[in-house]
């Protein structure tokens, strides 16, 4: 097990009376991707803003490379790269100049900057656009440039905030490849995304937060198993026994009975599935492994109830 390059303990942040992040722990190791997930309003953005150093935590400590962020701020900020969700490219400059000007915001200065910029342009397939304005870039290439810019100073930790939002499937896959490559280079990556397949495929570990608290943390399949169980059954809208099945499952203690476009979706254990089959043998339903979509739906419903 490699040492965590980023570690946060007991992070807490409140705005007024509202606790947005509540004693949250997280860590990210070199060469791994930590997927930070949670429904809207779960506290992801505030957590990231504390980790970037935009806002100070009310309680808790952040360490980069084993050193306290609050006491080694400049050094720590030299270690991190941030690719925010919003397009914050500098459209007054060309593609290559975006990398050069961004590097000027770091000390010690980036060694062999010209070489570094050429290397990134090549790696991110941006060389043909080096002297063009970013205005000519497609959405996928804008995202490439944002990511390239965030690592121009050779950071140790990279924050990717919804890096594929708004991209077409092909561009998404390209970004996945780039992320995978950066992980292989030894970067510790903190990834937030609303695409569940992306989180499952890219993350070595997932941290699911809900109402500012750590709901579950671990390898993707373990996270899903621990919250949802073994299977998800999907009862179609046209199934006459649909309501009876829902009621029966609720009686057996199923908390996460969700309806999606008229379909009933319920995570169940092996035992419940066996009992359901025995009780509603004539009914029609599908069974599949649970995924992060199910987890999100479950968390969102839990969130709705708690409000």
């Amino acid at each position: 097990m490699t040492t965590a390059i980023l570690e946060a303990r007991d992070l807490t942040k409140s705005y007024g009376d509202r606790v947005v992040v509540d004693h949250l722990d997280l860590s990210c190791r070199r060469g791994t991707v930590l997927g930070l997930l949670g429904p809207n309003g779960a506290g992801k953005t505030t957590t990231l803003r504390m980790l970037y150093g935009f806002v100070p935590p009310d309680e808790g400590t952040i360490y980069y490379g084993g050193k306290r962020f609050s006491e080694n701020r400049a050094e720590a900020k030299r270690m991190i790269g941030v690719s925010t969700q919003d397009d914050s490219l500098d459209y007054d400059f060309t593609v290559a100049q975006n990398l050069l000007i961004y590097a000027s915001y770091f000390r010690p200065r980036v060694e062999n900057l010209e070489g570094r910029v050429a290397e990134l342009l090549e790696r991110f397939d941006l060389t043909p656009y080096a002297n063009e304005s970013p205005h000519v870039l497609s959405g996928g290439y804008v995202r490439r440039l944002l990511i390239a810019r965030s690592i121009v100073h050779r950071p140790s930790v990279l924050f990717l905030d919804e890096p594929t939002t708004g991209l077409d499937p092909s561009a998404r896959l390209d970004v996945w490849e780039l992320i995978d490559g950066m992980r292989a280079d030894g970067l510790g990556i903190v990834l937030t995304t609303h695409y569940m397949d992306e989180a499952e495929r890219l993350s070595d570990e997932l941290l699911v937060i809900h109402e500012g608290r750590n709901v579950v943390h671990g390898e993707p399949h373990r996270v899903i198993d621990s919250v949802l169980g073994d299977h998800v059954i999907i009862v179609p809208r046209a199934e006459p026994a649909r309501e009876d099945i829902a009621a029966w499952l609720r009686d057996r203690g199923a908390e996460q009975v969700a309806t999606v476009l008229g379909e009933l979706r319920v995570p169940v254990s092996k035992e419940d599935l066996a009992a359901l089959t025995a009780r509603f043998g004539e009914a029609t339903w599908q069974v599949r492994p649970p995924n992060l979509d199910d987890l999100f739906i479950a968390l969102a419903r839990r969130n709705g109830r708690s409000r």
Binding site: V55, V82, S88, Y102, S104, Y105, F106, R107
Partner: protein, 269 residues
């Protein structure tokens, strides 16, 4: 990083450098219009309007109206350039272009972003005052105005000092207006009145002692009188001290407030 000491930090100058590089890329459009404005003002006020006005007594020296207006144009430019740069251009960088978001994701801290904008606004003021100085020189050689040309070289420096105060003041509005349309308030309710009632284009001599004292705190007035004293008499009198004092009086609280308000707006803290 302290909100005031950040001025000396490399980060502030990195932000300044970024703005300067953009300016240099667009130097034609950045230089020609500001050069035209004082020419138009000179033609309209100095020659056109001035033709109807008799010579004025300025601290015991009779001068024509165009000569009176020339230092006023220095003050007007020294105020307007950093003020509007820090209002509009900074707002565009903050809100529309999200340039500050990108910068803040680096080692640059928020006080340095604010200082980078203050310094850049003040240097823009210096550049435009230099252009006005060239225009004044031309009119002096044509005999339209009669100023001590050797003192023109000090005008950009005076403009830089006062420009820091004007830019820091403007950034308070940049950090607070909900949308760019709301810039009309600081432009029309503050910018225009202040630039007109500060002895720029006509002398203002209020009867009330309180108003006269208030004028002493106005850096635009101090800049106009300091420039006029130097260009007409070769002596700024007490206005050099007045300029430094009123600038400090504006700059310190306005910078502290700008940093605080910008932090709340941009970082949500």
């Amino acid at each position: 990083m302290g909100s005031l000491t950040a001025v000396a930090n490399w980060r502030s100058w990195a932000v300044f450098r970024r703005n300067a590089l953009v300016y240099l890329r667009n130097w034609r459009t950045a230089v020609i219009p500001p050069a035209m404005e004082p020419v138009i003002f000179f033609l309209a006020f100095g020659i056109g309007f001035g033709g109807f006005i008799e010579d004025l007594d300025y601290r015991g020296t009779m001068i024509n109206y165009a000569t009176y207006v020339a230092p006023g144009l220095i003050a007007y430019t020294g105020f307007g350039t950093p003020y509007y740069e820090a209002l509009y251009s900074a707002y565009v960088r903050m809100f529309y272009q999200k340039t500050w978001d990108g910068i803040l994701a680096t080692q640059v801290e928020l006080p340095s972003v604010v200082w980078g904008e203050i310094l850049w606004g003040a240097v823009r003021g210096m550049v435009n005052i230099s252009i006005v100085a060239v225009v004044i020189t031309v009119f002096d050689l044509l005999g339209v105005v009669d100023v001590k040309l050797e003192f023109l070289v000090f005008m950009p420096m005076l403009g830089f000092v006062a420009g820091c105060a004007f830019a820091s003041f403007a950034l308070i509005f940049t950090a607070t207006v909900p949308a760019i349309d709301h810039m009309n308030y600081p432009v029309f309710l503050i910018g225009w009145p202040v630039s007109l009632v500060s002895n720029t284009f006509f002398p203002v001599e209020p009867q009330s002692a309180a108003l006269r004292a208030l004028m002493q705190l106005n850096p635009v007035y101090q800049l106009a009188e300091c420039a006029r004293g130097l260009l007409v008499l070769g002596n700024p009198g007490s206005h050099l001290l007045g300029l430094l004092g009123s600038t400090a009086l504006f700059l310190v609280p306005c910078t502290l407030l700008s940093v605080r308000l910008t932090r709340r707006r941009v970082l949500g803290d």
